[in-house]
């Protein structure tokens, strides 16, 4: 891969430094773009804070929020003007807790979004949350097309402008006139007994026209879109086998496509009914049938054999000692867990999951104890909630008056839920669930086999780092529903199923840096994106993959904290590396080169 001739070194340096320049320039561009002077967060407004906030926003919030419009969750621009800072911090860190404490706003939001709960971000510090909020106040730093709408485009502009409306009605008018003319001609034809318009010949000719225009259009589309297709330049070892299979299939099916469509439309045109010409009564030809059964069979057999070869290559069991990374999916984000210095992943179990203290449910004894305490507190909360139901109902009923619209609806729903008994059943169900969970955790603690030492040095991260040209096995685990990890550049995909661990092994053969050069895009990154409908934010669930040299990887790894080492001082630095760190790495790398 690395060529040390001086000529290519110079070339490489040139390419890379142009890149660096572009990067620096793009980041410099934002320098003058602070839109706000003061912030409701109380922190001094600075470019660094906004950038840090932006990075956190992209890592944590973007799967459900945009600034300028509602997606899965509300639009966040100006949120600090709508809500108090203290409330926001509590909500963002643990909206479930806020809701359970009876906060009316929290409950209202939950109902407005049809019971879709926001994720819990217990690991964010106050400062981190404030930086995110400052980002929402300021907006993105880099200048995109100025005048991007901060409100959804109102109807009169954009699509439904006057010109479009006029065009639409005009074409409707033209269409109606054409239809009326045709109908008149038809009626005339019926009265005179002759067919005025030779429809049969017209349609036959149209068949031919459609063929020609269609073929041109198809070829045109191939020509403009081929550069986006994943048919070349894969970034994994098995990728080329798949790509070449894909190209061969494309060519074969393309050939059949052209031949059969041409025959179809040509025959339709040529054999249109002509006066005095009778059809040929030709009911069958067994030899022909055999031929066109055998030929597709043979061609398909070739494709099958090629496919089998590729398929078995991909499904080969990984070699002993292949690096393993657990990729954990949940609604609506991914986490990666690295085995740490001992090279072995610890165990995990869904009963040990706690959104605040152990989101991946890794089997560590002290974490298990922590969770037992949380669960017992939960049970107490639910038991209290049950006893307080009558008085809560009274409160709700007395404050019902004077409410309107969706506020009234959600308030009434709360009342209905209590009166129908469903609220109480829910609490009882939760108590039963927590008790089952406690029992299971206690059983596992007694048995002890789940809690292996390998877990102690595991590292949880929101980024996946891979070493170029080294095989890696992704061990997939889902927390809630079926997700699917699609890694398109690597020609890899695997369902992530709760209760059934899956895995995929491959060798990344092209580093992120190299891919950026290939594409001429300094901002490119590899990602896993979710590819199985998993809920309201399915369309925004991704995690970045960085493919780098072994040295870079080890440098990054050395900067990661072992997630499960108990620390006395509360960690200010996040266990999650925000994206901004990568820029510094880049500049560092350039200097070395």
């Amino acid at each position: 891969m690395k060529n040390f001739s001086s000529k290519s070194m110079r070339l490489r340096f040139l390419k890379v430094s142009t890149f660096a320049l572009l990067l620096v320039l793009t980041s410099l561009q934002g320098f003058a773009e602070l839109k706000i002077q003061t912030s409701a967060t109380g922190l001094p407004v600075s470019e660094e804070t906004v950038k840090a906030g932006e990075a956190l926003f992209k890592a944590k919030c973007q799967s459900c929020h945009q600034l300028d419009r509602r997606t899965t969750g509300p639009a966040l621009a100006g949120v600090t003007e709508r809500r108090e800072l203290d409330w926001l911090i509590k909500w963002i860190r643990n909206n479930n807790e806020l809701r359970q404490s009876g906060d009316a706003d929290a409950i209202a939001i939950y109902n407005e979004y049809n019971g879709t709960a926001m994720n819990v971000f217990a690991d964010l510090s106050d400062d981190q949350i404030k930086s995110i909020l400052m980002y929402t106040e300021n907006g993105p730093l880099a200048v995109v097309n100025d005048g991007g709408p901060t409100e959804p485009t109102p109807v009169d502009e954009g699509l439904f402008n006057r010109t479009n409306k006029i065009l639409f009605f005009l074409s409707l008018l033209v269409f109606i006139v054409v239809v009326l003319i045709i109908k008149t001609i038809d009626v005339v034809g019926k009265l005179t007994g002759r067919e005025v318009i030779p429809w049969n010949n017209i349609n036959a000719a149209l068949m031919l026209v459609f063929l020609i225009v269609g073929m041109i259009a198809a070829l045109y589309e191939v020509s403009i879109h081929s550069k986006y297709l994943l048919l070349w330049d894969s970034s994994s070892a098995h990728g080329e086998a798949i790509d070449s299979m894909m190209r061969i299939t494309f060519i074969i099916t393309g050939f059949v496509f052209f031949v059969t469509q041409i025959l179809l439309f040509y025959f339709a045109f040529k054999y249109r009914a002509k006066k005095g010409v009778k059809a040929l009564h030709y009911p069958d030809n067994d030899k022909l049938e055999l031929i066109w059964t055998a030929v597709p069979a043979v061609v398909l057999t070739i494709l099958v054999l090629g496919g089998l070869k590729a398929w078995s290559g991909i499904n080969e069991a990984p070699a002993e000692g292949t690096r393993q990374i657990e990729v954990f999916a949940h609604q609506f984000a991914w986490q990666a867990r690295y085995p740490g210095a001992d090279g072995k992943l610890g165990n995990a179990n869904y009963n040990l999951i706690s959104e605040t203290s152990n989101p991946l449910g890794v089997a560590i004894p002290y974490k298990a104890e922590e969770i037992l305490k949380e669960l017992e507190a939960d049970i107490e909360y639910y038991e209290n909630a049950i006893t307080e139901l009558p008085s809560k109902l009274g409160d709700l009923k007395s404050t019902l008056g004077g409410r309107v619209g969706s506020d009234l609806k959600s308030h009434q729903k709360l009342i209905d839920d209590i009166e129908s008994g469903s609220e109480q059943s829910f609490y009882e169900l939760q108590i039963r669930r927590r008790n089952t969970q406690i029992k299971r955790i206690k059983t596992s603690l007694e048995a002890g086999t789940l809690y292996i030492d390998a877990a102690k040095d595991d590292i949880v991260s929101s980024e996946i780092h891979l070493i170029e040209n080294e095989p890696v096995t992704f061990k997939f685990r889902s927390r809630d529903v079926i997700h699917s990890a699609l890694m398109k550049e690597f020609r890899a995909q695997m369902n992530v199923v709760p209760g059934i661990p899956t895995q995929f092994t491959f060798v990344p053969t092209k580093s992120t840096k190299q891919k950026r050069l290939d594409l001429g895009n300094p901002e490119f990154d590899y990602h896993i994106i979710c590819n199985k409908i998993c809920g309201n934010s399915h369309y925004n669930m991704k995690i970045k993959i960085v493919v780098e040299s072994k040295k870079e990887y080890e440098k990054w790894m050395s900067e990661q904290k072992a997630t499960f080492v108990k620390e006395e001082a509360p960690a200010e630095a996040p266990a999650v590396a925000p994206e901004s760190m990568e820029v510094e790495e880049e500049s560092g790398e350039i200097a070395l080169n």
């Binding site: 798949i242 299939t249 059969t260 469509q261 002509k274 049938e289 496919g307």
Partner: protein
């Protein structure tokens, strides 16, 4: 015994509402199927507005769906998935299964095999009413507080099993399951009737190998349905239990956010659902396309004035497709982490099933060759079906190849593939059938000019909508995405989305032309003659005005196969099946049937089995 009950006194209710006459029931299926189709297509246009113009606010969305589901005129992301889900459910089941099989099997089976009605007219009536009830239940799920089912029409658990995983997985999902159970009952009742009628109630001389290809297709479709729908019923039942009774058939190791926490269920397998679902799901797509094929065979033969090329080969292909369709379901599950050996088996079987479909296509081309083609509306849609099926079927070859499926599964490539084979091809088959048999159903003809406009606009828009999607899929764009802003490399496809949505709107508008033509022709269309297309099959020997019991007097006796078109020595270019022996090119049949008295024993020919057919075709049987 006279069977003339033409003047049998019927009330409005028993004639038009609770009718047990197969012709009326077929019209009921058709109208309900069309209404559901309009709803389904409208939903697709509405949700495509989101894909094309994600930042634009559309007041119509807010007007239709209210603040809850389309706040500020933009679809809620969960409700978007609800529309996608119900769109898929409606189109696959309600339009293309009930609307297609239900209509044409009911209309044509008794008329083409020469029976007075179905084996059990009462069960037939029930079949329709269960279908209607199912439709109502499904549509009612749009109005519940938590919204309609939203996990895709494939409703995989755990997403579809857990009300807290997605709003649409609440009551809406339960109603979806109820609707599907009712639908399955309807499909089974209908299918049983179809099979029974074809096998037991054919008229004298109508041996199996004198049946039109439509009947073969409908019968095999019904057999497929009978064997596969119950498995979906089982899978759906288990899902219902998981939802309502806390069982763990499909659920295991689940922790839900939002304060719910760890669930108790262990030991379940979500993949089990997929097996049970796709065991129906795959035959289902053949249940959809085979009637369309059957209709196409008939329409092309009649309008090219030629026998369908390779009648026996067509039958064997249909049978081959039917058998193989039960062995390929795993190709929907290549990337679930299944045992690679299993994947290998499904890969091989899937590519084998491409062969009979290819054979059918070539046979259609050969039928057109040296024909004398009349471009009736039905014929144009039939030709359109062949074109669309070629395009869609070829992309199936990519997807059946497991290694390629790794990159293509659940991307827009799959969406393009199934919309071309089902959403376009099969719909064109349905349209061909409607135009072709409208005179038989309503005693009038549809306006052919409007038909031409309808065809061309629909055909062009179908390609414009679905062809570009292949490229989106090959670029890695996933399906069921509310918006494309997850990755910058998807940005080039935003313009394509606009193009596709505009083409879809054009296609939708074209259907308005059809709807106007269809409904106005029912009441004010030109009155039809008895055999407007000069076809050979028996349904055209019945009088234009519908009779209870179909024929006044005796049922016609059949003397030849249905494809004696353009016989060299004949006066006309067609010879209906009930015209006695005058030379025929059917080689397979053992001997022509001589007219018999009614006490004679049933001729053995009526039970010519498939084996004899195959033997003859291979040149091994007696001439």
């Amino acid at each position: 015994m006279s069977n003339d009950h033409g003047h049998h006194k019927q009330s409005f209710i028993s004639k038009y509402v609770f009718s047990m006459d197969h012709k009326m029931i077929s019209k009921q299926f058709l109208i309900t199927g069309i209404i559901m189709g309009v709803i389904g297509v409208s939903m697709s246009i509405l949700f495509r507005l989101q894909l094309a113009w994600p930042e634009t606010s559309f007041p119509i969305l807010n007007w239709l769906f209210g603040d809850q589901w389309a706040p500020e005129g933009r679809l809620d992301s969960g409700f978007y998935m609800g529309l996608v889900t119900i769109h898929g459910t409606i189109m696959v089941f309600y339009v293309l299964t009930a609307g297609l099989s239900g209509t044409f099997s009911n209309l044509l089976i008794p008329l083409q095999v020469g029976a007075r009605d179905m084996a059990s007219p009462f069960m037939n009536m029930l079949s329709y009413w269960f279908f209607l009830l199912s439709s109502i239940v499904l549509m009612s799920s749009m109005f519940v507080a938590t919204g309609p089912a939203s996990g895709g029409w494939t409703i995989y658990p755990p997403l579809s099993a857990l009300a807290k995983a997605m709003p649409g997985s609440g009551v809406g999902m339960t109603l979806w399951l109820v609707a599907i159970i009712l639908f399955i009952v309807s499909a089974l009742l209908g299918g049983i009737n179809y099979i029974s009628t074809v096998l037991n109630m054919r008229t004298k001389g109508m041996s199996m190998n004198r049946m039109p290809l439509t009947i073969w297709a409908f019968m095999l479709t019904a057999i497929l349905g009978l064997l596969s729908f119950p498995v979906l019923l089982g899978g759906g039942l288990l899902l219902m239990f998981d939802r309502l009774a806390g069982t763990s058939f499909y659920l295991s190791d689940i922790f839900l956010g939002g304060g719910v926490g760890a669930l108790e269920q262990t030991g379940g397998s979500p993949i089990l659902f997929q097996h049970l679902f796709w065991f129906l799901g795959h035959p289902e797509v053949y249940i959809i396309i085979m009637p369309a094929f059957g209709i196409t065979s008939e329409v092309i033969a009649v309008n090219a004035r030629k026998p369908i090329f390779g009648y026996t080969a067509m039958i064997i292909s249909l049978i081959g497709i039917s058998v193989l369709s039960f062995l390929v379901w795993g190709h929907h599950m290549f990337i679930t982490g299944m045992n690679p050996l299993l994947g290998t088996i499904f890969l091989v079987m899937t590519l084998i099933i491409a062969v009979p479909s290819a054979v059918k296509t070539f046979n259609y081309l050969a039928t057109l060759w040296k024909g004398s083609i009349r471009f009736t509306n039905g014929m144009m849609f039939a030709i359109g079906l062949v074109s669309l099926f070629i395009t869609g079927g070829l992309t199936g070859i990519f997807l059946g190849n497991a290694a390629l499926d790794i990159s293509l599964h659940d991307t827009y490539f799959v969406v393009a593939h199934f919309h071309l084979v089902m959403g376009s091809s099969a719909i064109f088959g349905m349209m061909a059938g409607i135009y072709h048999w409208f005179p038989r159903m309503f005693g009038r003809t549809m306006n052919k000019t409007l038909g031409y406009i309808h065809f061309w606009l629909t055909f062009i828009s179908a390609y414009m909508v679905f062809f570009p999607m292949h490229f989106q899929g090959l670029a890695g764009v996933p399906r069921r995405y509310y918006s494309f802003n997850i990755l910058p490399e998807f940005a080039p496809w935003l313009d394509v989305n606009v193009f596709i949505t505009l083409a879809a709107i054009l296609g939708g508008v074209a259907q308005i032309i059809f709807l106007y033509n269809f409904f106005s022709s029912i009441f004010a269309g030109e009155k039809a003659v008895q055999n407007p297309w000069q076809a050979n099959t028996l349904e055209w020997t019945a009088p234009v005005e519908h009779l209870h019991g179909n024929w006044p007097g005796e049922i016609p006796t059949v003397y030849r196969w249905p494809y004696d078109y353009s016989l060299p020595d004949a006066d006309e270019d067609f010879i209906p099946q009930n015209v006695p022996d005058k030379g025929s090119s059917e080689e397979i049949h053992v001997a022509p049937v001589t007219p018999e008295t009614s006490d004679a024993k049933e001729p053995k020919e009526d039970n010519v089995m498939l084996f004899t057919l195959v033997k003859n075709w291979l040149g091994l049987g007696k001439a």
